[in-house]
Amino acid sequence: MSTYDCTTYYCNNGWNEVISHLSPYSWANWGIAIGLGFSVVGAAWGIWLTGASLVGAAVKAPRIRSKNLVSVIFCEATAIYGVILAIILLNKVASPKDVSYNFSSNWPWANFYFAGYSVFFSGCSVGFTNIASGISVGIAGSACALGDAQDSSLFVKILIVEIFASALGIFGIIVGIIQSNNAMFPTQ
Protein backbone atom coordinates (compact mmCIF):
# COMPACT_ATOMS: atom_id res chain seq x y z
CA MET A 1 0.00 0.00 0.00
CA SER A 2 1.18 3.49 -0.72
CA THR A 3 2.41 5.63 2.19
CA TYR A 4 1.47 8.82 0.39
CA ASP A 5 -2.06 10.11 0.74
CA CYS A 6 -3.33 10.88 -2.66
CA THR A 7 -5.12 14.23 -2.84
CA THR A 8 -5.57 15.07 -6.50
CA TYR A 9 -8.65 14.46 -8.56
CA TYR A 10 -7.16 11.51 -10.42
CA CYS A 11 -6.48 9.08 -7.56
CA ASN A 12 -8.18 5.71 -7.55
CA ASN A 13 -9.24 4.95 -4.00
CA GLY A 14 -10.19 1.34 -4.27
CA TRP A 15 -11.54 -0.91 -6.99
CA ASN A 16 -14.85 0.87 -7.08
CA GLU A 17 -13.18 3.96 -8.41
CA VAL A 18 -10.95 2.03 -10.78
CA ILE A 19 -13.85 0.26 -12.43
CA SER A 20 -16.09 3.26 -12.57
CA HIS A 21 -13.34 5.38 -14.08
CA LEU A 22 -12.94 3.02 -17.02
CA SER A 23 -14.21 4.86 -20.04
CA PRO A 24 -17.51 3.65 -21.45
CA TYR A 25 -15.92 3.83 -24.88
CA SER A 26 -13.48 1.22 -23.64
CA TRP A 27 -16.27 -0.94 -22.26
CA ALA A 28 -18.18 -0.75 -25.54
CA ASN A 29 -15.31 -1.61 -27.81
CA TRP A 30 -14.23 -4.47 -25.59
CA GLY A 31 -17.78 -5.76 -25.81
CA ILE A 32 -17.71 -5.70 -29.58
CA ALA A 33 -14.37 -7.47 -29.64
CA ILE A 34 -15.50 -10.16 -27.19
CA GLY A 35 -18.75 -10.72 -29.02
CA LEU A 36 -17.09 -11.10 -32.38
CA GLY A 37 -13.96 -12.84 -31.20
CA PHE A 38 -15.51 -15.56 -29.09
CA SER A 39 -18.18 -16.25 -31.69
CA VAL A 40 -15.53 -16.81 -34.30
CA VAL A 41 -13.48 -18.97 -31.92
CA GLY A 42 -16.53 -21.12 -31.30
CA ALA A 43 -17.30 -21.41 -34.99
CA ALA A 44 -13.71 -22.22 -35.89
CA TRP A 45 -13.46 -24.81 -33.14
CA GLY A 46 -16.64 -26.43 -34.33
CA ILE A 47 -15.53 -26.53 -37.96
CA TRP A 48 -12.20 -28.01 -36.89
CA LEU A 49 -13.94 -30.79 -34.98
CA THR A 50 -16.48 -31.66 -37.62
CA GLY A 51 -14.31 -31.08 -40.67
CA ALA A 52 -11.65 -33.56 -39.55
CA SER A 53 -14.22 -36.33 -39.15
CA LEU A 54 -15.98 -35.40 -42.35
CA VAL A 55 -12.84 -35.60 -44.45
CA GLY A 56 -11.79 -38.91 -42.92
CA ALA A 57 -15.19 -40.53 -43.25
CA ALA A 58 -15.52 -39.41 -46.86
CA VAL A 59 -12.48 -41.49 -47.82
CA LYS A 60 -14.46 -44.71 -47.71
CA ALA A 61 -17.93 -43.25 -48.18
CA PRO A 62 -17.69 -40.40 -50.70
CA ARG A 63 -21.46 -39.97 -50.89
CA ILE A 64 -21.50 -38.14 -47.54
CA ARG A 65 -19.39 -35.27 -48.77
CA SER A 66 -22.05 -32.81 -49.87
CA LYS A 67 -24.75 -33.61 -47.34
CA ASN A 68 -22.50 -33.24 -44.34
CA LEU A 69 -21.33 -29.80 -45.31
CA VAL A 70 -24.53 -28.76 -43.55
CA SER A 71 -22.73 -29.32 -40.26
CA VAL A 72 -20.03 -26.91 -41.33
CA ILE A 73 -22.68 -24.39 -42.33
CA PHE A 74 -24.29 -24.63 -38.90
CA CYS A 75 -20.95 -23.85 -37.31
CA GLU A 76 -20.46 -20.96 -39.68
CA ALA A 77 -23.83 -19.58 -38.63
CA THR A 78 -22.57 -18.98 -35.12
CA ALA A 79 -19.82 -16.81 -36.52
CA ILE A 80 -22.40 -14.89 -38.53
CA TYR A 81 -24.41 -14.22 -35.36
CA GLY A 82 -21.28 -12.71 -33.89
CA VAL A 83 -20.74 -10.51 -36.94
CA ILE A 84 -24.35 -9.34 -37.00
CA LEU A 85 -24.30 -8.37 -33.38
CA ALA A 86 -20.92 -6.70 -33.72
CA ILE A 87 -22.22 -4.53 -36.56
CA ILE A 88 -25.33 -3.62 -34.58
CA LEU A 89 -23.25 -2.72 -31.58
CA LEU A 90 -20.65 -0.71 -33.35
CA ASN A 91 -23.32 1.42 -34.92
CA LYS A 92 -24.28 2.50 -31.43
CA VAL A 93 -20.82 3.72 -30.54
CA ALA A 94 -20.53 7.36 -31.54
CA SER A 95 -17.84 9.86 -30.69
CA PRO A 96 -18.76 13.32 -29.40
CA LYS A 97 -19.40 16.09 -31.92
CA ASP A 98 -17.03 18.64 -30.31
CA VAL A 99 -13.58 17.22 -30.08
CA SER A 100 -12.27 18.83 -26.91
CA TYR A 101 -10.41 17.82 -23.80
CA ASN A 102 -13.42 18.00 -21.49
CA PHE A 103 -16.94 16.90 -22.01
CA SER A 104 -19.54 19.66 -22.07
CA SER A 105 -21.12 20.64 -18.80
CA ASN A 106 -24.49 19.09 -19.54
CA TRP A 107 -23.05 15.80 -20.78
CA PRO A 108 -25.59 13.03 -20.10
CA TRP A 109 -23.39 10.86 -17.91
CA ALA A 110 -26.08 8.36 -17.08
CA ASN A 111 -26.79 7.54 -20.68
CA PHE A 112 -23.11 7.48 -21.37
CA TYR A 113 -22.36 4.86 -18.75
CA PHE A 114 -25.48 2.88 -19.49
CA ALA A 115 -24.54 2.62 -23.14
CA GLY A 116 -21.03 1.49 -22.30
CA TYR A 117 -22.07 -1.29 -19.93
CA SER A 118 -24.93 -2.35 -22.12
CA VAL A 119 -22.80 -2.84 -25.20
CA PHE A 120 -20.10 -4.67 -23.23
CA PHE A 121 -22.36 -7.24 -21.68
CA SER A 122 -24.38 -7.67 -24.80
CA GLY A 123 -21.17 -8.64 -26.54
CA CYS A 124 -20.40 -11.04 -23.70
CA SER A 125 -23.80 -12.68 -24.05
CA VAL A 126 -23.24 -13.43 -27.66
CA GLY A 127 -19.60 -14.39 -27.34
CA PHE A 128 -19.97 -16.94 -24.57
CA THR A 129 -23.12 -18.55 -25.90
CA ASN A 130 -21.66 -18.87 -29.36
CA ILE A 131 -18.48 -20.51 -28.18
CA ALA A 132 -20.55 -23.18 -26.46
CA SER A 133 -22.84 -23.51 -29.43
CA GLY A 134 -19.96 -23.80 -31.88
CA ILE A 135 -18.21 -26.57 -29.98
CA SER A 136 -21.46 -28.40 -29.47
CA VAL A 137 -22.37 -28.27 -33.15
CA GLY A 138 -18.84 -29.43 -33.98
CA ILE A 139 -18.99 -32.54 -31.84
CA ALA A 140 -22.49 -33.40 -33.03
CA GLY A 141 -21.46 -32.80 -36.63
CA SER A 142 -18.52 -35.13 -36.26
CA ALA A 143 -20.79 -37.87 -34.96
CA CYS A 144 -23.21 -37.10 -37.78
CA ALA A 145 -20.56 -37.57 -40.45
CA LEU A 146 -19.36 -40.86 -38.97
CA GLY A 147 -22.89 -42.17 -38.52
CA ASP A 148 -23.93 -41.17 -42.01
CA ALA A 149 -20.94 -43.00 -43.46
CA GLN A 150 -22.15 -46.22 -41.86
CA ASP A 151 -25.90 -45.84 -42.33
CA SER A 152 -27.46 -43.05 -44.33
CA SER A 153 -30.75 -43.05 -42.47
CA LEU A 154 -28.98 -41.63 -39.42
CA PHE A 155 -28.16 -38.32 -41.06
CA VAL A 156 -31.49 -36.58 -40.63
CA LYS A 157 -31.89 -37.76 -37.05
CA ILE A 158 -28.52 -36.48 -35.91
CA LEU A 159 -29.09 -33.25 -37.82
CA ILE A 160 -31.92 -32.53 -35.39
CA VAL A 161 -29.40 -32.74 -32.55
CA GLU A 162 -27.26 -30.19 -34.36
CA ILE A 163 -30.22 -27.88 -34.89
CA PHE A 164 -30.82 -27.81 -31.15
CA ALA A 165 -27.15 -27.15 -30.57
CA SER A 166 -27.10 -24.20 -32.92
CA ALA A 167 -30.24 -22.85 -31.26
CA LEU A 168 -28.01 -21.99 -28.33
CA GLY A 169 -26.30 -19.40 -30.48
CA ILE A 170 -29.64 -17.92 -31.46
CA PHE A 171 -30.53 -17.48 -27.79
CA GLY A 172 -27.35 -15.49 -27.40
CA ILE A 173 -27.96 -13.11 -30.25
CA ILE A 174 -31.61 -12.53 -29.33
CA VAL A 175 -30.73 -11.60 -25.77
CA GLY A 176 -27.79 -9.56 -26.97
CA ILE A 177 -29.92 -7.47 -29.29
CA ILE A 178 -32.52 -6.82 -26.64
CA GLN A 179 -29.85 -5.97 -24.10
CA SER A 180 -28.28 -3.36 -26.31
CA ASN A 181 -31.52 -1.91 -27.65
CA ASN A 182 -31.65 1.15 -25.46
CA ALA A 183 -27.99 1.86 -25.58
CA MET A 184 -27.26 5.18 -27.20
CA PHE A 185 -23.91 6.87 -26.93
CA PRO A 186 -24.47 10.62 -26.49
CA THR A 187 -22.78 12.90 -28.95
CA GLN A 188 -23.13 16.20 -27.09
Binding site: W48, L49, S53, G56, A57, V59, K60, L146, A149, D151
Partner: protein
Amino acid sequence: MPGQTVGLGGMSTFNMQHGFVEALVRGFRSGFLQDESYHHLSQCDTLEDMKLNLQETDYGQSIQNDAAISPPLLEQRALQKMVTEFFYLRAQAVEPLATFLDYITYEYMIENIMLLLRGTISGRSANDLLAQCHPLGIFSESTMRQIPGFDASPRGYSDLYETVLVDTPVGVYFQRYIDTQAKTKITVASDVRGVLEEVQLEILKHSIMKLYLEDFYAFCVSLGGETAEIMGGLLRARADRNAINITLNSFNTPLNEPAMRDNYRKNLYPSFGDMYPEGTELLQRADDEAKLAQALQPFAIYRPIAERFSHTGGAHDDFSVDDEFYRHEVKLYELAFESQMHFGCFYAYVKLKEQEIRNLVWISECILQRRKDQIGKYVPIFSKADNRPGAGKGGH
Protein backbone atom coordinates in the same frame (compact mmCIF):
# COMPACT_ATOMS: atom_id res chain seq x y z
CA MET B 1 5.41 -25.08 -33.39
CA PRO B 2 7.28 -28.01 -34.88
CA GLY B 3 7.76 -30.90 -32.53
CA GLN B 4 5.08 -29.84 -30.10
CA THR B 5 2.51 -32.55 -29.59
CA VAL B 6 -0.98 -32.30 -28.22
CA GLY B 7 -2.26 -34.91 -25.84
CA LEU B 8 -5.17 -37.24 -26.24
CA GLY B 9 -7.83 -34.62 -25.65
CA GLY B 10 -11.29 -35.04 -24.29
CA MET B 11 -14.47 -34.86 -26.30
CA SER B 12 -13.92 -31.29 -27.38
CA THR B 13 -10.31 -31.58 -28.48
CA PHE B 14 -9.83 -35.18 -29.66
CA ASN B 15 -10.82 -34.47 -33.24
CA MET B 16 -8.23 -31.80 -33.67
CA GLN B 17 -5.37 -34.29 -33.87
CA HIS B 18 -7.01 -37.65 -34.28
CA GLY B 19 -10.36 -36.95 -35.91
CA PHE B 20 -9.21 -37.75 -39.40
CA VAL B 21 -7.56 -41.04 -38.48
CA GLU B 22 -10.49 -42.16 -36.37
CA ALA B 23 -12.87 -41.41 -39.22
CA LEU B 24 -10.60 -43.45 -41.52
CA VAL B 25 -10.73 -46.48 -39.25
CA ARG B 26 -14.48 -46.19 -39.02
CA GLY B 27 -14.56 -46.18 -42.80
CA PHE B 28 -12.58 -49.41 -42.73
CA ARG B 29 -15.16 -50.79 -40.33
CA SER B 30 -17.68 -50.66 -43.13
CA GLY B 31 -15.38 -52.91 -45.16
CA PHE B 32 -16.00 -55.91 -42.94
CA LEU B 33 -17.88 -58.78 -44.52
CA GLN B 34 -21.61 -58.68 -43.86
CA ASP B 35 -23.99 -61.45 -42.90
CA GLU B 36 -25.12 -61.79 -46.53
CA SER B 37 -21.55 -62.17 -47.73
CA TYR B 38 -20.87 -64.90 -45.19
CA HIS B 39 -24.11 -66.57 -46.23
CA HIS B 40 -23.14 -66.52 -49.90
CA LEU B 41 -19.66 -67.75 -49.14
CA SER B 42 -20.98 -70.63 -47.08
CA GLN B 43 -23.14 -71.70 -50.01
CA CYS B 44 -20.18 -71.91 -52.36
CA ASP B 45 -19.16 -75.34 -53.53
CA THR B 46 -15.82 -74.55 -55.06
CA LEU B 47 -13.09 -72.03 -54.49
CA GLU B 48 -13.85 -70.39 -57.84
CA ASP B 49 -17.35 -69.62 -56.59
CA MET B 50 -15.82 -68.23 -53.47
CA LYS B 51 -13.55 -66.00 -55.50
CA LEU B 52 -16.52 -64.71 -57.50
CA ASN B 53 -18.41 -63.92 -54.32
CA LEU B 54 -15.43 -62.22 -52.76
CA GLN B 55 -15.03 -59.95 -55.74
CA GLU B 56 -18.17 -58.11 -54.79
CA THR B 57 -16.91 -57.45 -51.29
CA ASP B 58 -14.15 -55.18 -50.11
CA TYR B 59 -11.66 -57.94 -50.89
CA GLY B 60 -12.39 -57.73 -54.60
CA GLN B 61 -9.44 -55.47 -55.28
CA SER B 62 -7.03 -57.73 -53.45
CA ILE B 63 -7.77 -60.95 -55.28
CA GLN B 64 -8.68 -59.79 -58.75
CA ASN B 65 -5.23 -60.48 -60.17
CA ASP B 66 -5.09 -64.08 -58.99
CA ALA B 67 -6.28 -66.79 -61.31
CA ALA B 68 -7.36 -69.09 -58.53
CA ILE B 69 -7.36 -68.75 -54.80
CA SER B 70 -6.30 -71.27 -52.21
CA PRO B 71 -6.62 -70.89 -48.45
CA PRO B 72 -2.99 -69.84 -47.90
CA LEU B 73 -3.14 -67.39 -50.79
CA LEU B 74 -6.42 -65.98 -49.55
CA GLU B 75 -4.96 -65.53 -46.10
CA GLN B 76 -1.94 -63.79 -47.53
CA ARG B 77 -4.00 -61.39 -49.65
CA ALA B 78 -6.41 -60.58 -46.85
CA LEU B 79 -3.55 -60.01 -44.45
CA GLN B 80 -1.79 -57.76 -46.94
CA LYS B 81 -4.95 -55.69 -47.30
CA MET B 82 -5.22 -55.28 -43.56
CA VAL B 83 -1.57 -54.34 -43.29
CA THR B 84 -1.88 -51.75 -46.06
CA GLU B 85 -4.84 -50.19 -44.29
CA PHE B 86 -3.03 -50.24 -40.97
CA PHE B 87 0.05 -48.52 -42.33
CA TYR B 88 -2.15 -45.94 -44.00
CA LEU B 89 -3.57 -45.16 -40.56
CA ARG B 90 -0.11 -45.16 -39.04
CA ALA B 91 1.16 -42.71 -41.64
CA GLN B 92 -1.59 -40.24 -40.80
CA ALA B 93 -1.30 -40.58 -37.05
CA VAL B 94 0.34 -38.13 -34.69
CA GLU B 95 1.38 -38.65 -31.10
CA PRO B 96 0.08 -40.22 -28.92
CA LEU B 97 -1.87 -42.23 -31.47
CA ALA B 98 1.36 -43.05 -33.32
CA THR B 99 2.85 -44.64 -30.22
CA PHE B 100 -0.39 -46.49 -29.61
CA LEU B 101 -0.38 -47.97 -33.11
CA ASP B 102 3.28 -48.89 -32.67
CA TYR B 103 2.36 -50.78 -29.50
CA ILE B 104 -0.12 -52.80 -31.51
CA THR B 105 2.65 -53.85 -33.88
CA TYR B 106 5.04 -54.86 -31.09
CA GLU B 107 2.99 -58.00 -30.46
CA TYR B 108 3.66 -59.16 -34.01
CA MET B 109 7.32 -58.20 -33.77
CA ILE B 110 7.68 -60.45 -30.74
CA GLU B 111 6.03 -63.29 -32.63
CA ASN B 112 8.31 -62.73 -35.60
CA ILE B 113 11.42 -62.75 -33.44
CA MET B 114 10.30 -65.98 -31.80
CA LEU B 115 9.61 -67.45 -35.21
CA LEU B 116 13.08 -66.51 -36.41
CA LEU B 117 14.78 -67.89 -33.29
CA ARG B 118 12.84 -71.12 -33.37
CA GLY B 119 13.37 -71.56 -37.09
CA THR B 120 17.09 -70.91 -36.85
CA ILE B 121 17.53 -73.47 -34.11
CA SER B 122 15.74 -76.07 -36.21
CA GLY B 123 17.92 -75.11 -39.15
CA ARG B 124 15.62 -73.46 -41.69
CA SER B 125 16.84 -70.94 -44.18
CA ALA B 126 16.66 -67.24 -43.47
CA ASN B 127 14.62 -66.42 -46.59
CA ASP B 128 11.96 -68.99 -45.73
CA LEU B 129 11.63 -67.61 -42.27
CA LEU B 130 11.47 -64.01 -43.42
CA ALA B 131 8.72 -64.88 -45.89
CA GLN B 132 6.72 -66.38 -43.04
CA CYS B 133 6.97 -63.35 -40.81
CA HIS B 134 3.81 -61.44 -40.01
CA PRO B 135 3.88 -58.25 -42.10
CA LEU B 136 2.69 -56.04 -39.26
CA GLY B 137 5.69 -56.93 -37.18
CA ILE B 138 8.46 -56.24 -39.63
CA PHE B 139 11.18 -53.97 -38.37
CA SER B 140 14.27 -53.12 -40.34
CA GLU B 141 15.09 -55.79 -42.90
CA SER B 142 18.79 -55.88 -42.09
CA THR B 143 18.15 -56.49 -38.40
CA MET B 144 15.69 -59.21 -39.24
CA ARG B 145 18.22 -60.91 -41.51
CA GLN B 146 20.78 -60.92 -38.76
CA ILE B 147 18.65 -62.90 -36.35
CA PRO B 148 18.63 -66.15 -38.32
CA GLY B 149 22.30 -65.56 -38.96
CA PHE B 150 23.45 -65.98 -35.41
CA ASP B 151 25.07 -69.22 -34.41
CA ALA B 152 24.97 -70.88 -31.01
CA SER B 153 28.41 -69.80 -29.97
CA PRO B 154 29.41 -67.25 -27.33
CA ARG B 155 30.18 -64.77 -30.08
CA GLY B 156 26.85 -65.55 -31.71
CA TYR B 157 24.87 -64.92 -28.58
CA SER B 158 26.59 -61.65 -27.88
CA ASP B 159 25.84 -60.62 -31.47
CA LEU B 160 22.24 -61.58 -30.88
CA TYR B 161 22.19 -59.40 -27.81
CA GLU B 162 23.55 -56.45 -29.74
CA THR B 163 21.22 -56.75 -32.73
CA VAL B 164 17.98 -58.17 -31.38
CA LEU B 165 18.04 -56.73 -27.94
CA VAL B 166 19.16 -53.27 -28.85
CA ASP B 167 17.96 -52.38 -32.32
CA THR B 168 14.44 -53.63 -32.22
CA PRO B 169 11.62 -51.64 -30.65
CA VAL B 170 10.84 -54.65 -28.49
CA GLY B 171 14.43 -54.90 -27.31
CA VAL B 172 13.51 -53.31 -24.01
CA TYR B 173 11.34 -56.32 -23.13
CA PHE B 174 14.20 -58.73 -23.74
CA GLN B 175 16.40 -56.52 -21.63
CA ARG B 176 13.93 -56.54 -18.78
CA TYR B 177 13.46 -60.27 -19.05
CA ILE B 178 17.15 -60.98 -18.88
CA ASP B 179 17.41 -58.62 -15.94
CA THR B 180 14.74 -60.48 -14.02
CA GLN B 181 16.32 -63.83 -14.79
CA ALA B 182 19.78 -62.84 -13.68
CA LYS B 183 19.83 -61.56 -10.16
CA THR B 184 22.34 -58.89 -11.03
CA LYS B 185 22.19 -56.59 -13.96
CA ILE B 186 24.02 -58.03 -16.93
CA THR B 187 26.63 -55.87 -18.49
CA VAL B 188 28.60 -58.53 -20.27
CA ALA B 189 27.00 -60.00 -23.36
CA SER B 190 28.35 -63.45 -22.70
CA ASP B 191 26.18 -63.73 -19.62
CA VAL B 192 23.20 -63.42 -21.93
CA ARG B 193 24.06 -66.72 -23.47
CA GLY B 194 23.54 -68.48 -20.19
CA VAL B 195 20.04 -67.11 -19.81
CA LEU B 196 18.89 -67.60 -23.38
CA GLU B 197 20.16 -71.17 -23.58
CA GLU B 198 18.51 -72.52 -20.47
CA VAL B 199 15.13 -71.04 -21.07
CA GLN B 200 12.94 -72.83 -23.52
CA LEU B 201 11.65 -70.68 -26.31
CA GLU B 202 7.99 -71.09 -25.32
CA ILE B 203 8.58 -69.78 -21.85
CA LEU B 204 10.66 -66.97 -23.32
CA LYS B 205 7.83 -66.04 -25.66
CA HIS B 206 5.20 -66.04 -22.92
CA SER B 207 7.41 -64.00 -20.62
CA ILE B 208 8.11 -61.40 -23.28
CA MET B 209 4.42 -61.22 -24.14
CA LYS B 210 3.62 -60.72 -20.47
CA LEU B 211 6.07 -57.82 -20.26
CA TYR B 212 4.69 -56.34 -23.47
CA LEU B 213 1.08 -56.56 -22.29
CA GLU B 214 1.91 -54.95 -18.97
CA ASP B 215 3.74 -52.13 -20.74
CA PHE B 216 0.88 -51.59 -23.16
CA TYR B 217 -1.62 -51.59 -20.30
CA ALA B 218 0.42 -49.02 -18.38
CA PHE B 219 0.60 -46.86 -21.49
CA CYS B 220 -3.15 -47.00 -22.07
CA VAL B 221 -3.88 -46.18 -18.45
CA SER B 222 -1.50 -43.23 -18.63
CA LEU B 223 -3.45 -41.86 -21.60
CA GLY B 224 -6.45 -41.52 -19.35
CA GLY B 225 -10.02 -40.72 -20.25
CA GLU B 226 -12.14 -43.04 -22.27
CA THR B 227 -9.15 -44.71 -23.91
CA ALA B 228 -7.92 -45.92 -20.54
CA GLU B 229 -11.36 -47.28 -19.73
CA ILE B 230 -12.00 -49.12 -22.97
CA MET B 231 -8.48 -50.29 -23.73
CA GLY B 232 -8.07 -51.25 -20.10
CA GLY B 233 -11.06 -53.54 -20.40
CA LEU B 234 -9.86 -55.08 -23.66
CA LEU B 235 -6.33 -55.66 -22.39
CA ARG B 236 -7.57 -57.15 -19.12
CA ALA B 237 -9.63 -59.62 -21.10
CA ARG B 238 -6.53 -60.39 -23.14
CA ALA B 239 -4.44 -60.95 -20.01
CA ASP B 240 -7.06 -63.33 -18.63
CA ARG B 241 -7.16 -65.25 -21.87
CA ASN B 242 -3.36 -65.57 -21.83
CA ALA B 243 -3.39 -66.80 -18.27
CA ILE B 244 -6.06 -69.40 -19.00
CA ASN B 245 -4.33 -70.53 -22.18
CA ILE B 246 -0.97 -70.87 -20.48
CA THR B 247 -2.60 -72.99 -17.77
CA LEU B 248 -4.49 -75.10 -20.28
CA ASN B 249 -1.51 -75.67 -22.54
CA SER B 250 0.72 -76.62 -19.67
CA PHE B 251 -1.37 -79.64 -18.72
CA ASN B 252 0.43 -82.83 -19.77
CA THR B 253 3.74 -81.00 -20.00
CA PRO B 254 6.57 -80.81 -17.47
CA LEU B 255 5.40 -77.32 -16.62
CA ASN B 256 2.49 -78.86 -14.78
CA GLU B 257 4.63 -80.28 -11.96
CA PRO B 258 4.10 -78.49 -8.65
CA ALA B 259 7.67 -77.26 -8.46
CA MET B 260 7.63 -75.96 -12.01
CA ARG B 261 4.23 -74.37 -11.43
CA ASP B 262 5.46 -72.19 -8.65
CA ASN B 263 8.74 -71.19 -10.20
CA TYR B 264 7.93 -70.91 -13.86
CA ARG B 265 4.25 -70.96 -14.66
CA LYS B 266 3.37 -68.40 -12.03
CA ASN B 267 5.72 -65.89 -13.61
CA LEU B 268 4.06 -66.22 -16.98
CA TYR B 269 0.71 -64.84 -15.88
CA PRO B 270 0.40 -61.09 -16.60
CA SER B 271 0.19 -59.00 -13.47
CA PHE B 272 -3.06 -57.31 -14.35
CA GLY B 273 -6.43 -58.45 -15.53
CA ASP B 274 -9.85 -59.14 -14.13
CA MET B 275 -8.61 -62.42 -12.70
CA TYR B 276 -5.53 -60.95 -11.08
CA PRO B 277 -4.55 -61.66 -8.34
CA GLU B 278 -7.06 -64.06 -6.81
CA GLY B 279 -7.94 -65.81 -10.04
CA THR B 280 -4.35 -66.31 -11.10
CA GLU B 281 -3.63 -67.78 -7.67
CA LEU B 282 -6.33 -70.38 -8.30
CA LEU B 283 -5.09 -70.96 -11.85
CA GLN B 284 -1.60 -71.52 -10.62
CA ARG B 285 -2.76 -74.36 -8.44
CA ALA B 286 -4.90 -75.97 -11.13
CA ASP B 287 -3.30 -79.03 -12.62
CA ASP B 288 -6.20 -80.54 -14.50
CA GLU B 289 -9.27 -79.33 -16.31
CA ALA B 290 -11.67 -79.84 -13.42
CA LYS B 291 -9.63 -77.59 -11.20
CA LEU B 292 -9.34 -75.10 -14.04
CA ALA B 293 -13.11 -75.00 -14.40
CA GLN B 294 -13.37 -74.54 -10.65
CA ALA B 295 -10.91 -71.66 -10.78
CA LEU B 296 -13.02 -69.91 -13.42
CA GLN B 297 -16.29 -70.31 -11.51
CA PRO B 298 -16.06 -67.09 -9.46
CA PHE B 299 -15.77 -64.98 -12.59
CA ALA B 300 -19.14 -64.48 -14.21
CA ILE B 301 -17.64 -63.66 -17.58
CA TYR B 302 -15.72 -66.91 -17.81
CA ARG B 303 -18.33 -69.11 -16.25
CA PRO B 304 -19.83 -70.17 -19.61
CA ILE B 305 -16.38 -71.28 -20.71
CA ALA B 306 -15.87 -73.14 -17.44
CA GLU B 307 -19.23 -74.83 -17.85
CA ARG B 308 -18.32 -76.01 -21.32
CA PHE B 309 -15.26 -77.58 -19.76
CA SER B 310 -17.11 -79.52 -17.13
CA HIS B 311 -19.79 -80.73 -19.53
CA THR B 312 -17.64 -81.99 -22.31
CA GLY B 313 -15.16 -83.51 -19.92
CA GLY B 314 -12.18 -84.93 -21.71
CA ALA B 315 -13.41 -85.02 -25.29
CA HIS B 316 -13.26 -81.77 -27.19
CA ASP B 317 -14.83 -82.70 -30.51
CA ASP B 318 -16.91 -79.69 -31.26
CA PHE B 319 -15.65 -77.40 -28.59
CA SER B 320 -12.40 -75.56 -28.63
CA VAL B 321 -11.54 -73.13 -25.92
CA ASP B 322 -9.94 -70.92 -28.54
CA ASP B 323 -13.23 -70.62 -30.40
CA GLU B 324 -15.05 -69.70 -27.22
CA PHE B 325 -12.51 -67.01 -26.49
CA TYR B 326 -12.75 -65.70 -30.05
CA ARG B 327 -16.49 -65.40 -29.70
CA HIS B 328 -16.17 -63.65 -26.35
CA GLU B 329 -13.55 -61.25 -27.62
CA VAL B 330 -15.40 -60.38 -30.81
CA LYS B 331 -18.25 -59.10 -28.65
CA LEU B 332 -15.83 -56.93 -26.67
CA TYR B 333 -14.15 -55.56 -29.76
CA GLU B 334 -17.45 -54.69 -31.39
CA LEU B 335 -18.32 -52.67 -28.29
CA ALA B 336 -15.11 -50.69 -28.70
CA PHE B 337 -16.61 -49.12 -31.80
CA GLU B 338 -19.64 -47.92 -29.92
CA SER B 339 -18.30 -44.66 -28.58
CA GLN B 340 -16.29 -42.00 -30.30
CA MET B 341 -13.09 -40.17 -29.48
CA HIS B 342 -10.89 -42.84 -28.00
CA PHE B 343 -8.22 -45.16 -29.34
CA GLY B 344 -9.96 -48.44 -28.63
CA CYS B 345 -11.40 -48.66 -32.11
CA PHE B 346 -7.93 -48.95 -33.67
CA TYR B 347 -6.98 -51.94 -31.56
CA ALA B 348 -10.41 -53.48 -32.08
CA TYR B 349 -10.13 -52.98 -35.83
CA VAL B 350 -6.85 -54.91 -36.05
CA LYS B 351 -8.17 -57.75 -33.91
CA LEU B 352 -11.49 -58.00 -35.72
CA LYS B 353 -9.75 -58.02 -39.09
CA GLU B 354 -7.62 -60.90 -37.83
CA GLN B 355 -10.78 -62.74 -36.87
CA GLU B 356 -12.26 -62.07 -40.28
CA ILE B 357 -9.15 -63.50 -41.93
CA ARG B 358 -9.48 -66.58 -39.71
CA ASN B 359 -13.11 -66.84 -40.79
CA LEU B 360 -12.22 -66.64 -44.48
CA VAL B 361 -9.49 -69.26 -44.13
CA TRP B 362 -11.87 -71.52 -42.21
CA ILE B 363 -14.58 -71.23 -44.84
CA SER B 364 -12.16 -71.80 -47.71
CA GLU B 365 -10.62 -74.81 -45.96
CA CYS B 366 -14.06 -76.29 -45.37
CA ILE B 367 -14.93 -75.82 -49.02
CA LEU B 368 -11.62 -77.29 -50.17
CA GLN B 369 -11.89 -80.34 -47.95
CA ARG B 370 -15.62 -80.71 -48.59
CA ARG B 371 -16.53 -80.49 -44.92
CA LYS B 372 -19.54 -78.24 -45.45
CA ASP B 373 -21.04 -79.35 -42.14
CA GLN B 374 -18.28 -77.54 -40.27
CA ILE B 375 -18.59 -74.38 -42.26
CA GLY B 376 -20.90 -72.67 -39.79
CA LYS B 377 -18.23 -72.40 -37.15
CA TYR B 378 -16.85 -69.03 -38.14
CA VAL B 379 -17.48 -66.13 -35.76
CA PRO B 380 -19.65 -63.48 -37.41
CA ILE B 381 -18.48 -59.90 -36.93
CA PHE B 382 -20.90 -56.98 -36.66
CA SER B 383 -23.68 -59.43 -37.21
CA LYS B 384 -27.27 -58.27 -37.32
CA ALA B 385 -28.44 -61.68 -36.24
CA ASP B 386 -28.19 -61.39 -32.46
CA ASN B 387 -29.31 -58.60 -30.23
CA ARG B 388 -25.73 -57.70 -29.57
CA PRO B 389 -24.88 -54.01 -29.14
CA GLY B 390 -22.42 -54.15 -31.99
CA ALA B 391 -25.05 -55.44 -34.35
CA GLY B 392 -26.31 -52.78 -36.64
CA LYS B 393 -26.45 -51.85 -40.25
CA GLY B 394 -23.03 -51.30 -41.60
CA GLY B 395 -21.58 -50.60 -44.99
CA HIS B 396 -23.13 -48.66 -47.77
